[in-house]
């Protein structure tokens, strides 16, 4: 991923409305993002665009991600 795109994603991951989402996304970005395939990275970019509450419901397991492209990333976010 080119530098500017990565930095934009970084800002959108480390500055959220909810602390829980801040922590989960920051940790994922620092620890797992670089080892993802380009398609998986793109899926994370899409997830980072979700509303905070939607993301938190997915990360905390209150809701299940139905999208087969995004679900594996949600599973990784939950484990991380």
């Amino acid at each position: 991923m080119e530098r500017a795109a990565y930095e934009r994603l970084r800002w959108r991951s480390i500055r959220r409305g909810m602390l829980e989402v801040d922590i989960a996304l920051t940790r994922f970005l620092d620890e797992q993002f670089q080892s993802l395939s380009a398609a998986e990275q793109q899926a994370f970019v899409e997830l980072a665009d979700f509303e905070d509450l939607e993301l938190w419901h997915l990360i905390s397991g209150q809701e299940v991600c139905e999208d087969p492209r995004l679900a594996p990333i949600v599973a990784m976010l939950r484990k991380s």
């Binding site: 500017a4 930095e7 934009r8 970084r10 500055r15 409305g17 829980e20 509303e51 905070d52």
Partner: protein, 594 residues
């Protein structure tokens, strides 16, 4: 250097609840209005507010704004200004009904009215019994509010500048505020917003503490800008804490865990609450539990390598009970504490939640500061609302659901005042020739410095210093040490270096600029707390304890006054509390007990 100038009638810094509410007033009055935000508006920290908004609608049972006013004054431990509190409680019904008209999906009664539920501290008939006053939209009140108000702004043609960070206030030689400088993250360009009104709605600065429930975004940018522009910060020693946040993360563990039998233990595995509250034990009130935890940590019985947390133990409970009665707690604990609470206790620590103090304003949302013997002289052109402002309605302690009310009422009133002032003035005042120089030099210093200190380390030093010296329960010796230490940390912050020198999308630079705002709030907090030698509301000292002369350690003879901290020389002065409401009798001083 040629800096682009964008001319607006008004600029609002911050797009959370207070910013969006004030923008509606300005745009709907036909004024050219810009809103700057570090993030997309519906991602502001208001989204995390779940509790609801207080208003004496009386939909579920009899209620009155005067009862709400009484509760708020009492909750504030009499440090709130009674003119502002009357104004807010009276206006509550109006702003909630307006929000309903903006499309806010409030919970409803069977007959279609806004459903109201009880919330701590809200009572009927001047403190007699709990009343249902909170209006909510399920557990997503803040989220729904942001969406309703954002849509309203889009309709009114408010111009949003998303992923922009305001840098500094611009004041002319007569002290008028004539705009702000800001940086567009995507380009790294510094721009001047030349305005007739500037409204700060930048939220709180809860990230000054190591353990905080606040999102990372709450770095007190408006407070930093105000302090650097010579405006004092009011009552910054008052911060609300919650007893059980996950240590190191800040995520809240609900008090229901102790209700279901959770036990707090120190490093000796002792159930220490038996010593502090022999009857109620772990179910004692929030402040008692927080103080006990802080005392255990201070006396060396904390857990972990730094001995800086205690343990919340539910391993003795039946796993089926945990799963049934405390849904989500296992998940939170695994995700954020790294422990399965069925097998091991959860590390917890008193955690900062809400900032009562802020930029001093009157109840019209105009920023005020002492000048020529007048404590409340208006700073022309500058307004503030929401958690960054201090009207002061929360005084020494905020009631639940009054924060969303604060941002609606004072967001609206700051907007109205700005409209009135703009319509009463002829044109934009001239920009000073050096309008952007200060901001440019700050940015250049960060960009060019070599061999400086790391942003992450400096931020951590602020947070550790604040948590250890000015936490939920305060000790005279620690405050004194903390005041010296935070000035040392300031030297580190004034010497920040970033490795990434890129112009565009440089998040390291943003974090460095945020840290320069955090340090201003941290100094204000530590120095104000050290100076206030009583206990009141959320500011509790072990050398100002309950006595017949000073119930709960509160000393009205000497300390019934607002703190004003000035950045210049870290000078402290005090101004009187306004005990006179606008139209009704004063709520007379008495001991605060529930």
């Amino acid at each position: 250097m040629n800096i682009p100038v964008l001319k607006f009638d008004a600029v609002i810094v911050g797009a959370g609840g207070a910013g969006l509410r004030s923008a509606i007033q300005l745009s709907e009055a036909g004024l050219k209005t810009a809103v700057l935000s570090k993030v997309f508006p519906t991602r502001s920290h208001t989204v995390a507010a779940q509790g609801g908004v207080a208003a004496s609608l009386g939909n579920s049972e009899e209620d009155h704004w005067r009862w709400h006013m009484y509760d708020t004054v009492k909750g504030s431990d009499w440090l709130g200004d009674q003119d502002a509190i009357e104004f807010m409680c009276k206006k509550a019904v109006e702003v909630v009904v307006e929000l309903e008209h903006y499309g806010m999906p409030f919970d409803r009664t069977d007959s279609g009215k806004i459903y109201q539920r009880p919330f701590g501290g809200h009572m009927s008939n001047f403190g007699e019994k709990p009343v249902r006053r909170s209006c909510a939209a399920a557990d997503r009140t803040g989220h729904a509010m942001l969406h309703a108000m954002y849509q309203r702004n889009v309709k009114a043609n408010t111009q949003f500048f998303v992923e922009w960070m305001a840098l500094d206030l611009i004041r002319d030689s007569e002290g008028h505020v004539v705009g702000v400088t800001a940086m567009e993250m995507e380009t790294g360009q510094v721009v001047i917003f030349h305005t007739r009104a500037t409204i700060f709605a930048t939220g709180g600065a809860g990230r000054i503490f190591y353990s905080s429930t606040n999102a990372f975004i709450n770095t007190g940018d408006g407070l930093g800008m105000a302090a650097r522009a010579g405006i004092p910060l009011e009552d910054m020693e008052f911060w609300q804490f919650h007893p059980t946040g996950v240590a190191g993360a800040g995520v809240l563990i609900t008090e229901g865990v102790r209700g279901e039998g959770g036990i707090l233990r120190n490093s000796n595995k002792e159930r220490f609450m038996e010593r502090y509250a022999p009857n109620a034990k772990d179910l004692a009130s929030r402040d008692v539990v927080s103080r006990a935890m802080a005392t255990e940590i201070k006396e060396g019985r904390g857990c972990g390598p730094n001995k800086d947390y205690v343990l919340l133990d539910i391993t003795h409970l039946d796993p089926a009970t945990i799963m049934k009665r405390l849904p989500g707690i296992r998940e939170i604990s695994i995700q954020f504490a790294g422990v399965d609470p069925i097998k091991a206790p959860i590390p917890v620590v008193p955690t900062c939640h809400y900032q009562m103090g802020g930029i001093p304003t009157d109840y019209h949302g105009r920023v005020v500061m002492p000048r020529n013997g007048d404590f409340n002289a208006v700073v022309p052109g500058l307004y503030a609302a929401g958690e960054c402002a201090c009207a002061s309605v929360h005084g020494a302690n905020r009631l639940g659901t009054n924060s969303l009310l604060d941002l609606l009422v004072f967001g609206k009133s700051a907007g109205d005042s700005a409209v009135e002032d703009i319509k009463g003035s002829k044109a934009h005042r001239d920009l000073p020739k050096d309008a952007a120089d200060y901001s440019l030099s700050r940015v250049a210093a960060i960009d060019n410095r070599k061999g400086g200190s790391s942003v992450a380390e400096a931020r951590l030093a602020i947070q550790r210093t604040m948590q250890d010296h000015a936490g939920v329960f305060r000790f005279a010796d620690m405050l004194k040490k903390g005041a010296a230490q935070i000035l040392e940390v300031e030297k580190q912050v004034m010497n920040l270096e970033i490795k990434d020198k890129s112009l565009v999308w440089n998040t390291a630079r943003m974090e460095a600029l945020e840290t320069e705002n955090l340090i201003e709030v941290a100094k204000a907090t530590m120095i104000s707390a050290e100076a206030r030698k009583e206990s009141r509301g959320a500011h509790v000292r072990d050398d100002a304890v309950d006595s017949p002369e000073f119930p709960n350690g509160r000393n009205d003879k000497e300390w019934l006054k607002h703190t004003l901290w000035h950045r210049e020389g870290n000078k402290i002065e005090y101004k009187p509390v306004n005990l006179n409401p606008l139209t009704v009798e004063s709520v007379e001083l008495k001991t605060r007990s529930y």
